[in-house]
Symmetry: D2
């Protein structure tokens, strides 16, 4: 049994991390904290009544170090880079669910997140926690940059193509739709029920902070620059992301061939499922699970490939992937607590 702590328990990612860890046979949650709320965790999240007696406190480094082996940072960006250095120094493993350690350099961070990076030292050493691509690095990692929700769905959908046939890619458009929990849990008229329900809209057109993360990883895999045109939309559901990805190809390829490449690429992966050629994934088949379902279709005449990818933004897009990373780091069965 290892001892785990969750910083940021009052948000949806922190809550989902707790929910998953409570079902995990190898983990005991020993510490939780939040910045604006203290008291019983069951007062913040009554669904845990009868399951835990944890008290939520303001973050306290000494206690966190004393009580935990591994710490999940489920806090807004800019907070993680304030907390991680000391935790790492104290020899703890850190899994950061924020965007603070995902980009490779401080300049890009400043550009997309609007703040100077305060921990360039660890930024260089962090491992991008997408197990399907970086499992071996994750095994040895001390600091995991847990991928963003949009990038998880996008990179898994594009990885086989970029890794094997990057020269085929002429341009990529991602039309993404995310459930509302992706925006976090904050008081804002913009996310009030009546503003979102029976509504739909695009936002941050070509301008979302997850773009450089996708481009960075996909460019690494393909060993050439991959540019992403990304338009996210706000979907009136609690959970789930669907991305419809249009790849204009330089050359013809058959649906059968491209489908085979995808099936092979993820053959042994426990959480990436390739649907039959032409079949479309649906949110409801992955919500409350750690799966990413991927559908592939092609408009042969126009050399236009359409890859559709769905995940639960709180599970494979956040807490589930964080637990998957922990399992790999700790040598547990990778699916433990996630099926």
């Amino acid at each position: 049994m290892i001892k785990a702590g969750i910083v940021g328990i009052s948000g949806y990612s922190g809550m989902t991390t707790l929910d998953l860890l409570l079902k995990h046979p190898e983990v005991r949650v020993t510490y939780v904290s939040a910045n604006n709320t203290t008291g019983k965790v069951t007062d913040i999240w009554p669904q845990f009544k009868g399951k835990i007696r944890l008290m939520c406190q303001k973050f306290d480094l000494k206690k966190a170090v004393e009580l935990c082996d591994v710490i999940f940072l489920a806090v807004p960006h800019t907070i993680s880079m304030e907390l991680a250095p000391a935790l790492l120094k104290a020899g703890k493993k850190v899994i950061d669910l924020s965007g603070d350690y995902r980009l490779s350099n401080a300049r890009d961070y400043k550009k997309w997140y609007g703040s100077a990076h305060k921990d360039c030292h660890n930024l260089k050493k962090s491992v991008y926690g997408l197990p399907e691509l970086y499992r071996e690095d994750i095994k040895k990692a001390k600091l995991i940059a847990n991928p963003g929700c949009y990038p998880t769905a996008a990179i898994l959908a594009l990885a086989p193509l970029t890794a094997i046939y990057s020269e085929l890619i002429q341009s990529v458009i991602i039309d993404a739709k995310s459930g509302v929990s992706g925006a976090g849990r904050k008081a804002s008229v913009m996310f009030n029920y009546c503003e979102v329900n029976e509504n739909f809209k695009a936002y941050k057109v070509f301008n979302h902070q997850h773009v450089p993360e996708m481009e960075l990883i996909l460019s690494k895999i393909s060993r050439m620059p991959v540019a992403i045109n990304f338009v996210p939309h706000l979907l009136p559901v609690n959970r789930g992301i669907l991305e419809t990805i249009y790849v204009q190809l330089n050359d013809k390829i058959s649906l059968v061939d491209i489908h085979k490449i995808y099936e092979r690429f993820y053959k042994t992966e426990p959480f990436a499922r390739i649907l039959a050629a032409g079949q479309q994934p649906e949110l409801k088949n992955v919500t409350h699970t750690n799966y990413c379902d991927i559908g592939i279709d092609i408009h042969a005449g126009k050399k236009l490939l359409v890859i559709t990818s769905v995940i639960d933004n709180l599970v494979k897009g956040a807490a589930g992937q964080a637990v998957q990373n922990m399992n790999i780091m700790e040598g547990f069965k990778e699916e433990e607590g996630l099926l």
Copy 2:
């Protein structure tokens, strides 16, 4: 053509009032204000783009008086009683959508709304704006206390019985369910999409500030005290209230007889519709309309009457009823702008 002003345009009731008045052939909206937002109304409510060029300003008494014949106060309670006195003094007609002028005495106001009443003078002179009961008084009124959303559905559902057979009533339980717009438009985690969607709960059990309003009016009609046991619930829809009203009777009455009483009571009313005996009303038949649909059923053996009542909380429960009151006050056709 009369000139109308709306104070509190950034809320749902103010917006709905504007929407209705724009379709009204006898009214021109000449003034709108809000406290925290200024600028083009179409920046707050883009749905009006192309229809209006109104600018929203902080409330200014002089301008309101200068530009308007009638003023709709769609502001939170305690604000109306600060604005109404001067407007009335200046000879303007005021239709107040808040709770400030609905109760008959300042003591009850203090008890249920938590603040001392600042305008007892006009509190006594206000007319309760439920046309089905007080049409004659409304015709002559200068200050309308526009009924609350829950009381509108409740009083219309109980008025025939209390007016004609009050001695039959042993006890009344109202199990009410309201859409989220009833809570207004404010930044609050509690009303965030993910907290309300796929959720349902009771709140303010026996303790809602609309209770004394129902009891006051129903007691007046029945000429004896009527006590209401009221439990509201938050329904995951944008608009609409359904109240399931259980009346324990002192004596037997047949469904046919009670149904006849209701049909007769509302025979000439344009906006109260009595369904066939045993038929149940649905929200979707009244949303975006000024109708109140009422269903009647009975458990004869148990002398238990069930009256179900539905309205759109923003229309018959707020802005639509306000416009209906204006029509009556101004001598317009009562349905004008509402069908």
Copy 3:
């Protein structure tokens, strides 16, 4: 490891049973059938892709008997009583999720379900599968009548009162609200998205087939007849039931006292949670779980008790309770697979 079969896999209850059993360490699902759909289960329910290779067949008694130790009947009423006798005769344990074995006599069945009962023999021997009340009987049972969703929430909410203070009860009104999955999975305009979304209505007023089931069990517990006035409503959510239960009392009792009785009654129960006095339960705290959360409030002056009870209709109201019953019958840990 025991071998389990599910008859009626194409419905929501059958699917949820499968979902729970797949996570259960002591059970292997060896047989599934449906009447109108055959082929891979993952073609009916793609969320199970990668987890199972089961084929769905038309029901075949011989195969079911050969392959299973325990059989879950997740079929519409009238079908169970056709299948159960032979399965029982073959020595199999049967957990019936339909209404076929819940009432105590064939006359009531005919009256409320509209068909003659075809298996009076086993009707007498079935055990009502509500563990909080009948755990000892369930241990020895061969045929479980798994409780209805509405009765589960109602009986758990009323059991402490009826068991201990039945003389206090003057009358009971249950205002129930159920998510749409309670209606099953069938082609019907009535349950089309556009007919249910942004809508709300009552149905089967005083006339729901779950009423005799509630009255039967509550009367048994209280050793006197308990009559239930029951009005269900269709709630625009996928899952979850909330019942607001109004009990008119014959005498005064304090909130503190009644709350204590409830806490004591369910003190050792793993799935019944009594909230703090005056606190209201919410659907979202129990959906996707086997919990029943119960809130208690009182209007002391009026001797009116309000008990609110929430469950997930597919879990504690169907499949979860069925698995809980199986755990008890098989001597497994009662919470196994359910936390």
Copy 4:
């Protein structure tokens, strides 16, 4: 006053047509029919109670001809081409909301709708009822092919570009999202509440029957072939379509310039609204209205234009546009009954 008939009153388009015509000062609805339902219209659509006494009948040519000046066909495709010829022959004006008269030749109809066309004579004479492009033809038309919902949003969004700068267009991808009423009102598990709510998916990828309609009209406007890559998705809302349209350009153009072109193109149009450059349209600003809101943004570096277009599929995408066409045909004010 003209006399109007609606064939297909039991569907959502027929109902919305009735709703709009009831508010229209120049029209009296004198005839309604449906194939599977007869009796009072208010039994099918209780929201009209108190407003109409119309009886719904099986379609009867003689009656329709006798009672109506103009007839709205709100029926499934293949039915319209059976009814229209006789109505036209009798000198009636016909506005067909189905797809039967939208394509220019019977071959394409057979390919995309799967049936042979039975009325090639009128197919050639029908006028495509998109007022923003064909107002003059509509004035003189006897048979209107009312545009499909997806094509309305797509063509209005692309018309300025294709009409003025078609040589700029390299390729067009339309990622469309439609509310559930777009699927019509039929008994089908696929559109049951629980299957659609909290779900999202693509369907008919590159294969929707509205594609040839878009390509036909846009090619006409641009005087060169325009190919559309179209992927529709099912959105969990009752009403509304949002299309995110990606146009890969052959050359650079500034956002300011392209925005000016759009503003000018629709300068005098009552129902097409161009938002400020970079601003995104939302469903909720157009639902229950006849507006089409269009947002324009550009990724200058990548020569990638993004046009987003929203309409209410039942209003501007069906019944509202049909009424707009009627207004033009009859010489009424074009906005009559639509604001």
